[in-house]
Amino acid sequence: MTRFLLGLLLVTLLQTTLAHRLGVAGIRPDLYLLFLFFLSFRASPEVATAMGFLLGLYQDAFSGAPFGLHAFALSAGGFALSLVAEGVDASRVFPRLVLLAGSGLAVGSLTHLLLHFFRLGPPVGALLTVVLPTALYTALLGAAILGARQLKARLEVRL
């Protein structure tokens, strides 16, 4: 629990202060989703749901989004990710990346849908200009982290 709260604080600090420096054409990676993705492999669906809810609340508190928007999307995302993660081999990188990109698309599309429901609707084109690039960018960052972890593990084995 303490590690999760520290992680939540760190992710919030990184997303609010440094993520914009990683922005490409205004698109920044979603560190909250990335954190939830890694947590979902270790947590049960109910715990992942609660974690997604709290992560989403923090994401909403530091954005112009209606409070609860990302809490909704990440609760559903955490639940689904954890369920799917049970059937994914955690040692293989490629399926995990596909899962991360897929969850990015699903969470982004759900957010888009909710914004439309509350009449704050971005255009349908935002699915291509915001949702898709954010999901791909987040997946790329996830690939870099997974790659670094594997490299570290290999080096430790050799040493």
């Binding site: 604080l9 919030t12 600090l13 997303q15 609010t16 202060t17 993520a19 914009h20 922005g23 054409a25 205004g26 698109i27 920044r28 979603d30 909250y32 049960s44 669906p45 109910e46 749901t49 609660a50 997604g52 809810f53 989403g56 609340l57 923090y58 994401q59 909403d60 508190a61 530091f62 954005s63 112009g64 989004a65 209606p66 409070f67 609860g68 928007l69 990302h70 809490a71 909704f72 609760s75 559903a76 639940f79 957010t111 909710l114 914004l115 509350f118 704050l120 971005p122 935002a126 200009t129 915001v130 954010t134």
Partner: protein
């Protein structure tokens, strides 16, 4: 019995509760009926704000130290250049003083009010929006420093946006590039008025410009002062492209904001326009000059 059912279906129960509470929060906030929602949001922000302020202080000090070091290396050459420039500026000051005196005499003759002055609160940007859907920033000044909802926010380069949420020690500012922001605009040369709205990109668009107005690339766009939120005459940006759709009643123009929002570190909140009361009514809509 009930507990047993809840435990058996705990996954579905927890998911349902999380989704329901989130949906309730959203509904209450969109309807602006959520003191409870505001309380929860403020609580969450408060838990992170000290760390954000610490980070801003550390990075601010580091960049200042680095800038001082770099400046020191440049200072000798700069000194010579400045001495030459100072001589030229002395002459300029003398000329402007003359112009100033002439200006005040003419104003008295025409009975025009003197140039506007604002009461400002300087603030530091401590956080940027966590999503790619909205464009907001958080500043390190709140209601304790006199910041109120709907007050205009500027930088040295021009308009930044307006305050949309106020907490005791922080405030959330909606940038003019935010998709739900709208600012009454005026073309400096053509004097045509329109509405600047943000989008999901880095730029903004002036909508509802009259078809008769001859809008050109490079035209300067200022705040129109209509809507009562933003004072008139603040620089918004310059026109980068114009769009006329056949059959449309108005034309549009893409603009490049004068403020580089990616590098924004300090802002000024206009708390009062001297002689004109408080700009930005506290009850003004969240979108701006709609």
């Amino acid at each position: 019995m009930l507990l047993r059912v809840i435990l058996r279906y705990r996954r579905a129960v927890i998911l349902s509760i999380a989704l329901l509470v989130s949906f309730l929060f959203m509904t209450l906030q969109v309807r602006q009926e959520g003191p409870l929602v505001d309380l929860v949001e403020r609580g969450l922000v408060l838990t992170v704000t000290p760390f954000l302020k610490l980070y801003a202080a550390v990075t601010g000090t580091t960049s200042r130290l680095w800038a001082n070091y770099v400046d020191l290396r440049r200072v000798r050459g700069e000194n010579l250049r400045l001495q030459e420039e100072m001589a030229a500026l002395r002459e300029e000051v003398r000329r402007l003083a003359e112009a100033g005196l002439e200006n005040s005499r003419l104003r008295q003759l025409l009975d025009l009010p003197a140039g506007r002055e604002f009461d400002l609160v300087a603030a530091q940007v401590i956080a940027k929006d966590t999503t790619n859907w909205f464009k907001t920033i958080m500043i390190n000044k709140g209601s304790e420093a006199g910041v109120q909802r709907s007050l205009p926010v500027i930088a040295t380069e021009g308009l930044v946006g307006r305050v949309v949420e106020v907490m005791p020690w922080t405030a959330k500012v909606q940038l003019l590039t935010d998709p739900v922001s709208s600012v009454g605009a005026l073309l400096q040369e053509q004097r045509g008025t329109g509405l600047v709205t943000g989008d999901l990109g880095q730029t903004a668009t002036v909508k509802y410009l009259p078809l008769m107005a001859e809008v050109r690339v490079g035209d300067v766009v200022l705040t129109s002062g209509m809507g009562g939120v933003f004072p008139k005459g603040i620089l918004i940006g310059t026109v980068t492209a114009t769009h006329r759709k056949s059959g449309a009643l108005f034309q549009e123009a893409a603009i490049q904001p004068s403020v580089d929002f990616g590098r924004l570190e300090e802002v000024l909140v206009i708390t009062r326009e001297r002689g004109a009361g408080s700009p930005g009514a506290p009850g003004a809509p969240r979108g701006g000059d709609r």
